[in-house]
């Protein structure tokens, strides 16, 4: 058509004029759409240096032959949609990836399947890029020989939405990324962290599932992070936490579920975190809050069926617990305002003992340790005096 002079459709396939994707890209101009038929393509390193839309029909396979980075994007506004990428090369020196974006903006990577890639999708200095509905499955066995699923190094306004990541070193990795959103992803069975955050400010993650990762989720050295309605499940091991908050300031957490973790949240040097309406269920420790934390507020959270509710390492308490529901609370409510009349101390003496002498865990729930706990409740001596919920709820907070 006359008016479409700037946007042509180019087809690639065994029966088309272009047999390879690279020759199609060579002849394409900015704004063109390249449709790729199903098939098995060995393109070595495919470089997209034009603002084109690359669309796969029925998941054509791009094979990196265990040597190459499969797709490299260096153009703004490029789109990669509907491919199956397999067997990228492995190199710790160059961080070979399934799809890597270099210094570009508005790139869209969606509906792809990545199998056996070293790094999955790698954004290196990207702005306003989206990574949507991709499936990433790696088969790494050791942390050293495995890359991250979605790796974002330096970026702004990125959108990571609806991806499924498993078997990588870190499921999602953010470093120096600002104003970005991570939404509806499932990151499970990764070797190290489900989500790894470093030096990334003003980000938000919502409705994600992080399950059974080597060490859970780790958020470090970041400010103003918001977390809503995420699920942290089944992260087991001494160094495994539902979420590790280290040197985090001004965070906000609401509606998250922490289920069956060794410790639900581990906080170290966290300041001004506001936690509201989260659910901690069946964890070893619902919350480990080190004495280095300040102005952390916990309000209206439910603590149900945890072995220990709160663990800490010192007597200094600069945090506030208010109106939480603790299933171990044994107080009463005489004035019937649904708030317990006596404060609840969530740190049990035995959790302090186990913190110091881990093998003591073997005596947990024995008669003598229950006696010790009860005595401590009457006359607190080991547990921090100020760590208490002054107004615990009698029924679940929500």
């Amino acid at each position: 058509m006359y008016c479409s002079a700037t946007a042509a459709n180019i087809y690639v396939g065994a029966k088309r004029s272009h047999k390879t994707v690279s020759s199609a890209i060579l002849s394409a101009r900015d704004g063109d759409t390249i449709f790729v038929d199903a098939g098995h393509y060995r393109e070595k390193n495919l470089i997209i240096d034009k603002s084109i839309i690359l669309k796969g029909i029925d998941f054509p396979v791009l094979d990196g032959e265990k040597k190459y980075e499969i797709i490299s994007i260096t153009a703004n506004g490029a789109v990669v949609d509907g491919f199956k990428l397999i067997h990228s090369g492995v190199s710790s020196l160059e961080d070979l990836s399934g799809i890597k974006v270099y210094d570009s903006r508005d790139v869209v990577i969606r509906n792809n399947i990545l199998e056996d890639t070293f790094f999955g999708i790698y954004i290196q200095n990207g702005i306003n890029c989206s990574i949507e509905n991709n499936q990433l499955i790696a088969v790494g066995f050791e942390e050293q020989q495995s890359g991250n699923g979605i790796h974002c190094w330096k970026g702004d306004s990125l959108k990571v939405i609806g991806n499924q990541i498993s078997g990588h070193r870190d499921g999602i990795y953010f470093e120096f990324v600002k104003n970005s959103v991570i939404w509806r992803n499932v990151s499970k069975n990764n070797l190290r962290y489900g989500l790894h955050f470093m030096f990334s400010n003003d980000d938000m993650y919502v409705n994600n599932v992080f399950r059974n990762n080597g060490s859970g989720v780790s958020v470090m050295y970041s400010n103003r992070i918001k977390m809503f309605s995420n699920y942290f499940e089944e992260n087991w091991g001494d160094a495994a936490h539902g979420i590790l908050l280290k040197e985090i300031s001004d965070g906000f957490m609401e509606g998250n579920y922490f289920t069956r973790n060794t410790s639900g949240i581990y906080m170290e040097g966290a300041n001004r975190i506001y936690m509201k309406r989260n659910v901690f269920e069946n964890n070893g420790w619902a919350l480990k809050i080190q004495a280095s934390c300040m102005d952390v507020v916990l309000e209206l959270n439910n603590f149900i069926g945890n072995t220990f509710d709160v663990g800490t390492n010192g007597s200094l308490v600069l945090n506030k617990f208010k109106n939480n529901y603790w299933d171990k609370y044994e107080g009463y409510d005489l004035d019937k305002d649904k708030i317990g009349d006596i404060p609840y101390r969530p740190v049990s003496m035995y959790s302090m003992i186990v913190e110091k002498y881990p093998p003591a865990m073997i005596l947990f729930r024995s008669f003598i340790t229950s006696l010790l706990d009860k005595t401590e409740k009457l006359i607190p001596s080991l547990t921090p005096e100020n760590l208490k919920d002054t107004a615990p709820m009698m029924k679940r907070a929500f």
Partner: protein
């Protein structure tokens, strides 16, 4: 032998104490499950019953029963019966009636409210503890002729196993805090059937907390099939050794 067992069981049933014990267990376990809003908390309360009440009732009742049936035993010995058979059938009758009482009293509510691995472990350990403490009671009665002394010994043994032993372990743990104590802890736990049962249940109940570093050591040991077989055999030997030793003593005892 079967006749003696049958007689012992009917005698115990007529005695009513075991019936009351069954009723108590039933009432207690039904109420802990229906009072708590989540049934895992009910399991915790039941854990205390299993670890404290069951051994206590088992050891005290067996001791008193043995002393009260001293004349019956003398009568049996005067018959053409082997002493082995008399002693073992007394033990079988007593242990099985206590186990049945436990199965009805605690087993049925557990199966109703928590028919899973935790519940089944609890039922199994409860039955084993009933039998173990009956065996220990037999040992206490065969060693002392005086009734008051024997019952005193039984109470002291119960106190030792359920309270003092853990205190000692805690003391040892604190004294040797600088050394790797995980394996020593496993070895120590074999010396107390209550501890061993508690750990087996703990590994099901508090698996998240037990998966911490040292926890992982315990989990690796007790959670693996070898460890389970080991703990099962240790619990069985807690039955076999006292019964065997008390049978030896009874064989040569001057009644």
């Amino acid at each position: 032998m079967n006749k003696i067992i049958k007689y012992v069981i009917t005698d115990i049933l007529r005695n009513k104490i075991v019936l009351i014990y069954t009723g108590f267990l039933l009432a207690a376990s039904l109420s802990v499950f229906s009072l708590e809003d989540n049934s895992s908390k009910g399991l915790l309360s039941l854990l205390n019953i299993i670890l404290i009440i069951v051994p206590l009732v088992s050891i005290i009742f067996s001791t008193i029963y043995m002393y009260n049936s001293a004349e019956f035993i003398e009568l049996l010995v005067s018959q053409p019966l082997k002493r082995n058979a008399i002693w073992l059938s007394l033990f079988t009758g007593l242990a099985s009636s206590l186990s049945i009482a436990f199965l009805i009293g605690a087993g049925i509510p557990v199966l109703i409210y928590q028919a899973n691995l935790v519940g089944l472990t609890m039922i199994l350990t409860g039955v084993l503890l009933s039998v173990i403490f009956a065996a220990i009671a037999f040992l206490a009665t065969v060693k002392t002729r005086d009734k008051a002394k024997g019952i005193g010994a039984a109470i002291m043994l119960w106190l030792y196993f359920s309270l003092l032993f853990d205190g000692l372990v805690l003391f040892i743990l604190f004294q040797f805090a600088d050394y790797p104590m995980e394996n020593a802890m496993i070895a120590l736990s074999a010396l107390n059937p209550i501890d061993l049962s508690r750990i087996l249940i703990l590994l099901q109940l508090d698996v998240s907390a037990m998966m911490g570093y040292t926890g992982a050591v315990f989990k690796d040991f007790f959670g693996a099939s070898n460890g389970l077989i080991f703990s099962f055999f240790v619990l069985l030997s807690w039955i076999v050794i006292p019964v065997w030793y008390s049978t030896l003593k009874f064989n040569s005892k001057d009644l």
